[in-house]
């Protein structure tokens, strides 16, 4: 009988370490996100820098504080907390008040990670948890249009929600890609986030299945709505480039420990999250529902992972 003990007992030598470490992964993640963060700071000014710094700092401090009573070895040096805090900050409006950033970042770490035992133990995507708790609690302070009134641009998804598809008809994919619109601090810089995601793919840190199937799910579902009534629903490319879709595809959905690990489950997981994103955007009360879709899809992960490949020689 196979039990936990023998499954993890390693026997035959010799071994070779792949060289991949958690710290290294987090370095790469933060590094590829840097250009998008810089563009966010350029667009939204020092406010964006404050939000990013505060979220990162709070995340690391919260983890350290919670790890003490849990009798865990402090793990601030592996940058997982910092990465979670930064990922969370990427979805905030740049002018978010300081207390909302602190509460959200602490929620990300405590409710998203530490209650499940820490990084690698959480069945849900931690930054999405932080975002969802804030959006449900203080919708007015998370409203991208309302918080960024000082800028002349508009937030495409809010416009789509409240004024219909005609109001976003003039927005070209190119301007969305360059981030020439209001949006979340870092996640709305779609072009740079896309490049960052492709860099992660190229480095082999993320497998292609989840991002590609997620984008396909978003595209397919949006296409169905668009074909039904192009006057009422936005074109599929708009849904992919607006809001946090691309950020979700590459950084939230493949969150380790919250995503399936086998090929077919990964594809189904991405498609499910993509379809849910569009459904929430079309019927939900919030303009952007990508993080909600991530959490819902995360709940299906254990079930999806039951679809396992057959072992060689098995029947």
């Amino acid at each position: 009988m196979v039990n936990q003990q023998s499954a993890f007992t390693v026997t035959a030598a010799p071994f070779w370490h792949s060289g991949r470490t958690l710290t290294g992964d987090m370095y790469r993640l933060l590094l590829v996100l840097l250009p998008a963060a810089l563009l966010g700071m350029y667009r939204f000014g020092y406010d964006a820098l404050t939000v990013l710094a505060l979220a990162g700092l709070t995340a690391v401090a919260t983890e350290a504080l919670v790890q003490r009573p849990m009798r865990q070895t402090p793990s601030a040096h592996d940058f997982t907390a910092l990465a979670d805090g930064i990922l969370f900050a990427f979805m905030l409006p740049a002018t978010a008040p300081w207390w909302i950033v602190v509460v959200g970042s602490a929620t990300t770490i405590i409710l998203g990670r530490m209650v499940f035992g820490g990084y690698g133990g959480s069945p849900v995507c931690a930054p999405a948890v932080g975002w969802c708790v804030l959006t449900v609690s203080w919708p007015a302070y998370m409203d991208l249009n309302g918080m960024l009134l000082a800028w002349d641009l508009v937030e495409p998804l809010s416009d789509l929600k409240y004024f219909g598809a005609e109001s976003v008809a003039h927005i070209t994919p190119g301007s969305l890609l360059l981030g020439e619109h209001l949006g979340a601090l870092g996640a709305s810089q779609s072009g740079l986030v896309l490049l960052a995601g492709i860099a992660l793919l190229a480095m082999g840190r993320v497998r292609w299945h989840i991002p590609v199937s997620y984008l396909a799910g978003v595209f397919g579902t949006a296409l169905i709505y668009w074909l039904i009534d192009p006057q009422l629903y936005a074109p599929p490319l708009f849904h992919i480039l607006a809001g946090t879709t691309i950020f979700t595809a590459f950084f939230l959905l493949p969150y380790p420990s919250a995503a399936p690990v086998f090929r077919i489950p990964m594809l189904l997981f991405g498609l499910l999250a993509g379809a849910l994103t569009i459904l929430i955007r079309v019927y939900g009360i919030y303009p952007d529902g990508a993080p909600f879709a991530v959490l819902l899809a995360n709940l299906c992960t254990p079930l999806l992972d039951l679809i396992q490949p057959k072992p060689f020689g098995g029947r």
């Binding site: 009988m1 196979v2 039990n3 936990q4 207390w99 509460v103 209650v115 449900v136 609690s137």
Partner: protein, 238 residues
């Protein structure tokens, strides 16, 4: 069989219904958006639980074993209808707030659980003590959970503003997911407390409170299923 006092007090802490027995979670999660709702729901449950325990205990020798559940439900249902009408007459706003959850007391796990586990086996005075203790424990838990959610989620307690106009309420807590999060944190706190108490007294830990591998055993179950499947496959091969 314990004394009246011990049957009464066990419901207050040792077997406090939602936090220790983890029974009656549907109203616990759904109506505790404010302390007042929790208290009102608890009062209704005290009434039904104490009376149903006494009635069931009185007729316990004449109920046939095979139809006992139906009999318990009939008794609880008549009492719930009485509570519902009393609430409509004397506390109509509360009745509107609680809505469907008052009629749902009929199928509340605590009512059936205490009837089956206690009242059907014990004399009426002990059943009354048990019902009152459990009901008061349930009320205290609901009021506590409701207070917690109302204070942080709305900034008020029993309708009185606590933090002034500058407080931005953490409204996540008064919505449905907040109930689950609050309850989970309280359950974790209860377990932490019992582990700490057991350690201080130098007692063996109750295996049910072991949060590690011993308490769950899910992996062992999975292994058993896998082994069984493998055997089936071998059987099919042969």
């Amino acid at each position: 069989m314990g004394s009246v006092a011990s049957e009464f007090t066990k419901g207050l802490w040792k077997e406090i219904p939602p936090f220790r027995l983890v029974l009656g979670l549907c109203p616990t999660l759904a109506v505790t958006t404010s302390a007042e709702n929790g208290l009102g729901m608890g009062a209704a449950v005290i009434f039904v639980l104490a009376l149903s325990n006494v009635l069931i205990s009185l007729v316990r020798s004449i109920i046939p074993k095979k139809v006992r559940i139906a009999c318990f439900i009939a008794i609880a249902a008549s009492l719930v209808v009485a509570v519902e009408m009393l609430m409509q007459a004397f506390a109509y706003p509360l009745y509107q707030q609680l809505g469907i959850f008052v009629p749902l007391i009929v199928v509340n796990c605590i009512i059936l659980g205490r009837a089956e586990a206690f009242a059907a086996k014990n004399p009426p005075h002990l059943a009354l003590a048990d019902g009152l203790g459990m009901g008061i424990g349930f009320t205290l838990s609901l009021t506590f959970l409701g207070s917690l959610r109302e204070i942080f989620g709305a900034g008020t307690w029993f309708g009185h503003s606590l933090f002034g106009p500058n407080y931005h309420p953490f409204s996540f807590l008064v919505q449905a997911p907040g109930a689950f999060v609050c309850l989970g944190i309280i359950l974790a706190g209860m377990n932490f407390l019992s582990i700490w108490q057991a350690k201080r007294k130098g007692l063996e830990l109750d295996p049910n409170f072991d949060a590690g591998c011993k308490g769950c055993m899910a992996c062992k179950k999975m292994d058993e299923i896998a082994a069984q499947k493998r055997l089936e496959r071998l059987g099919a091969k042969a």
